[in-house]
C-alpha cells in the first residue's frame, strides 16, 4: 500500500567543485578582495544575508527561501585529509568513506534499508544517464531516467500503438512461460519489474499538471521531472540529479554565475510547484559538491581546493547557519584552502535520522554528531 504524502530527499550534486567563496561570499573580508583580484564579485550586487556574508548575485530565488527561513547553510563542510581530485573526492562523498575505497554508495545503502526486499522498483530515481556511485549498492535497483517524457523500454519503436504492441510481445518473452534456469529467472524477474517501473514513471509523467512554468535547461527539466514523480505518490524516497560543471579554472565569473542562476531559478520554480501541490513540507533538498576551490584565484578562475559549502532546503528545514565560516587568515588555511570544520557525514546523519527516520549508524559506519536543521515540530 502506498503511503500518501511521504517524505522524500532530493540530492543535487554540484559536479566539478563549486567555488564556495563565490557562492557564500565573505564580501566584507579584505582577504576575499585581495585574493580574488581577478574574479571577485561586485560588492553591491552580492545579496547580503548577515552583514558579513552574502549569496552570489544570481541566487535570488534561493535567497527568497532563505528569507522564509527554509535554507540551512552548512559552512566549512568537508572531511579530514582533503583530496583535491574530482574523482576521488566525489567517491568519498558518494561512499561516505574517506579512508579506503568502498564500493557501495550511502544512498544505495539507505535504499536497501528502506526497501530490503525491493518491493518498490522506484524507491529511488536517478535523473541522468549512468548511476552515480552514491546510489550503487548490491541488490538495489535504481531507475535512471534521462528525460521522463521519453523514458521507457524500446523507445526507438515509432508510434505509441506500435510500441504498445511490441511491448506485449516483450512481456510474453519475459513472462512465466519461459523455461527455468537461474539466469532466465533473474532476467524475467527484472524484465517484469523494469516494465512496472516504466509504467509507474510514465503515469507520473502523464498525470502531472501545474501552473508553474520551468525554464528549459537540464537542471530545470530534472527538477520538473522530480516534481512529477513526487506528485504521483509512487513511494519514491530518494531523487538524484546533477548540475555542472563547476570546474571553473577559467572564465569563472561568467560560468559560475550561469550555473547558479539556472539552479537557483529551478529551485525557485520547484518549491513554487511543491507549494501549489501542498507538498512543500514533505521534500528536503541537499546541494553538495565534492570540494571547494582555492582561496586565491589564478587569473581567470580558481583551482581545486577543499573545505566547501553545502545547502539543505525545504519547508521542514530550520533555516540558518550550521558549521562555522572558515577563517581566511593565512595561518588558518590548509595549503591555500579554507579549512573544513564539520564532517559531511554529520549532514548525512542528520538527513537520515531526522528526515528519513532511518538509523544512520549502520549506513555511515559510525555515529556522527548531528546538526539540528530539521524542524522536528512538523
Amino acid at each position: 500500500m502506498i503511503e500518501q504524502k511521504e517524505r522524500s530527499l532530493v540530492v543535487i550534486q554540484l559536479s566539478g567543485g563549486n567555488d564556495a567563496m563565490n557562492t557564500l561570499v565573505p564580501y566584507t573580508n579584505g582577504i576575499y578582495h585581495d585574493s580574488r583580484s581577478a574574479i571577485h564579485l561586485t560588492e553591491n550586487k552580492i545579496i547580503d544575508i548577515n552583514g558579513s556574508l552574502g549569496f552570489h548575485p544570481e541566487m535570488g530565488e534561493i535567497n527568497k527561501l532563505w528569507n522564509q527561513n527554509k535554507v540551512a547553510v552548512i559552512n566549512g563542510i568537508g572531511y579530514p585529509v582533503p583530496n583535491r581530485s574530482h574523482f576521488r573526492s566525489m567517491d568519498i562523498w558518494h561512499t561516505a568513506e574517506s579512508e579506503t575505497i568502498a564500493s557501495d554508495g550511502w544512498l544505495g545503502r539507505t535504499i536497501r534499508e528502506i526497501d530490503p526486499k525491493h518491493k518498490n522498483v522506484v524507491t529511488a530515481v536517478n535523473f541522468g544517464r549512468g548511476l552515480p556511485r552514491a546510489l550503487v549498492c548490491k541488490d538495489v535497483p535504481v531507475a535512471s531516467v534521462g528525460d521522463l517524457n521519453t523514458y521507457g523500454l524500446m523507445p526507438d519503436i515509432k508510434g505509441s500503438v506500435q510500441r504498445e504492441n511490441v511491448l506485449n510481445y516483450f512481456s510474453r518473452m519475459y513472462g512465466p512461460n519461459q523455461g527455468r534456469d537461474a539466469i532466465l529467472n533473474t532476467l524475467s524477474e527484472n524484465g517484469v519489474s523494469a516494465m512496472t517501473g516504466v509504467d509507474i514513471l510514465s503515469r507520473a509523467n502523464s498525470q502531472y499538471s501545474s501552473s508553474v512554468e520551468y525554464a528549459d535547461n537540464p537542471i530545470s527539466n530534472n527538477l520538473k521531472d522530480i516534481a512529477k514523480v513526487i506528485f504521483a505518490n509512487v513511494g519514491t524516497k530518494i531523487y538524484y540529479a546533477q548540475q555542472g560543471s563547476f570546474d571553473t579554472h577559467a572564465g569563472e565569473l561568467f560560468n559560475h554565475a550561469k550555473l547558479w542562476k539556472d539552479l537557483s531559478d529551478a529551485l525557485g520554480d520547484f518549491f513554487e510547484d511543491l507549494r501549489e501541490h501542498d507538498r512543500e513540507n514533505d521534500v528536503t533538498v541537499l546541494l553538495f559538491s565534492e570540494f571547494g576551490r582555492r582561496i586565491e584565484d589564478n587569473g581567470s578562475g580558481t583551482d581545486h581546493g577543499s573545505g566547501g559549502v553545502a545547502f539543505v532546503l525545504g519547508g521542514s528545514v530550520k533555516g540558518g547557519f550550521y558549521g562555522e565560516q572558515p577563517s581566511l587568515e593565512l595561518s588558518e588555511q590548509v595549503e591555500g584552502d579554507m579549512k573544513y570544520n564539520n564532517d559531511f557525514r554529520c549532514t548525512y546523519a542528520t538527513l537520515l535520522d531526522q528526515w528519513l527516520g532511518i538509523d544512520s549508524v549502520p549506513i555511515l559506519g559510525k555515529n556522527y554528531e548531528q546538526h539540528n536543521f530539521i524542524n522536528t515540530g512538523i
Binding site: 583530496n83 583535491r84 581530485s85 574530482h86 574523482f87 576521488r88 566525489m90 567517491d91 575505497i101 568502498a102 564500493s103 522498483v121 544517464r129 549512468g130 548511476l131 556511485r133 550503487v136 548490491k138 541488490d139 538495489v140 535497483p141 535504481v142 531507475a143 535512471s144 523500454l153 524500446m154 523507445p155 526507438d156 519503436i157 515509432k158 506500435q162 504492441n165 511490441v166 510481445y169 516483450f170 510474453r172 518473452m173 519475459y174 513472462g175 512461460n177 519461459q178 523455461g179 537461474a182 539466469i183 532466465l184 533473474t186 532476467l187 524475467s188 527484472n190 524484465g191 519489474s193 523494469a194 512496472t196 517501473g197 516504466v198 583551482d303 581545486h304
Partner: protein, 473 residues
Amino acid sequence: MSSNEILLMAHLMRRVGFGSTKDELNKYVKKGYDNQVDEILDLEPNYEVSTHMINRYQPDYESPMGSSANGATWLYRMVWSDFPFKDKISLFWHGIFATGYAKLANGYVLADQIKMFSNYGLGNYQDLLLQLSKDPAMIIWLDNCESHKGAINENYGRELLELFSMGTGNYTEKDIKEVARAFTGWTIANKDYMTAKSQRDSVWPYGRLAMHFEYKEDDHDGDEKTFLGETGKFNGEDIIEIICKQKATAKFISRHIYSFFVEDEPPVPEWPYKKPNNPEAIEALSEVYFDKGYNIKEMLRFLFKSKFFKSEKVWNKRVKSPIELVAGTLRITKEFHRPDKEQSLTNSHTQFMGQHAMNPPSVEGWHWGTEWLDSGTVVERVNFSSSKLGNVNNLGIRKIIDNIKSNISNQFTPEFLIEIVLEELGAIIVSKTTKETLNDFVKSKIDSEKDLTDDNLSEFLQLVGAMPEYQRT
C-alpha cells in the same frame, strides 16, 4: 536451425571474443574447430583501424580526464580487430586486477596497464604477476608507493594474496606483512610529482604524464622474511615465485578462467564457502597450470578443446557483461568503421549498464553473472541492443536485410525470417516461448515478401534485440 558444428563454433567465438556473424562462422567451421582454437591462440590480431587513424581524429584519446575516453579506445579495438581475443584477455585480467580511475586521475597510466595485460596476459603467470607488481597504476591504486622500509602499507601485499593469487584461507596475517616488506622500494619514478598531479587532477602545465616503475634499493627492507614457511632475504620476485608454486594459486586462477570462459561461478567472496560448479574441470586446469609452467595460453588451449567447454550444457550459461554486450552488438552493426564522435557516447552505455571500464566499484572488480541484472540495468541493456539492431542504417544491419531479401525463395514464412535473422546474428539459440512469440509477432506484421519493409524489419530486429536470449553468451 544451424548445424551442430556451427552452434559449437558460435559458442567458441562468443567466449574467445564477442561473437561472430554467420559468414564468419561458416569460414571458421571450414577450418576445423581445433585449428580455429590454435589460430586464435597463436596469431597476432590485426586491427582494421590503426592507432594512427584514431589519434588523427581523436588526438590522445587514451589520456584525457575521465576514464571513459580510454575505455572508448579499448572498445574500438574490441570491435575492429579480426581476432579480438587479446582484448578479451585484457578484459579478463582487468576484471581480476581491477584498477580504477578515481585514485589515479590519469587515463594514460590505465591504458598502459590494459596494454600490459594484452602483452603478458597469455604468458606465464609468474611474469604477469611481476609486471603487475611493477605496474604504475597498480602501485598507486593499492598504495605500494606508500609502503616503506620500516613503515609498511599492507594494501598491495594483502590483495596480491587474497584477490590476485590464492584467495583467503591460504595464508596468515603475518604472511601479508612479510609480503608487504618484500615489496618495499617498489614504487613509481617521481612519485611526489606524479601523486601531486593525480591528487589534484592536474593537467597543468602541459597535459598528463605517463608513469614508470622505479625500484628504490635504499627503501627496500632487505632483512630476512618468512613467507608460507620459507625463509630468506626475499624481494618481490621471490615472493611471486613462491606464490606461483602454490596449489591454491593454481586453483584460484583456474576457477577464474572457468568462470570467465565456461560458465558463471559465484562472485569471489563466496568461493571459500561454495564448491566450484565443476570441480573436475578446476582440477584438470590446475594440472595444466603446473605441467605447462604456469602458462595461461596452454591452460586456455586445453580448456577450449576440453569436453566440459564444448558441452552444450554450458552454452549460453553466462550473462553478457555490459562490455561484452556492447562490443558484440557493435561487431554486428559494424558502426565506427572510421573514428567518429559517437564512439565515446556509445562507450558510455557500458557504464549505464553498470560496467564502467577502468573504473571498477572497488579492487574486487565487478560482480558478474546475474548480478549484472536489475530492473534499472535491464532497461539500459534491452534499449541498447534493440535500438542498435533495429537501426537499418547501420552497415551490418543493412547487410543482414539484404541477405534476407536475396535468400527469400518462393513462399515467405515467419519461420524463414526468424531462422535467418538468428543465424545472421551468430547462431543464437532461443527457447520455444521466444520462438513462438517472435513467430506471432512476424505473423501480425508480415504476410509476404512485400511486407519486408525497413520499418517492419526494424521493429522485428528491435524485438530480437530485446529477447532474453540476447542477454546471454
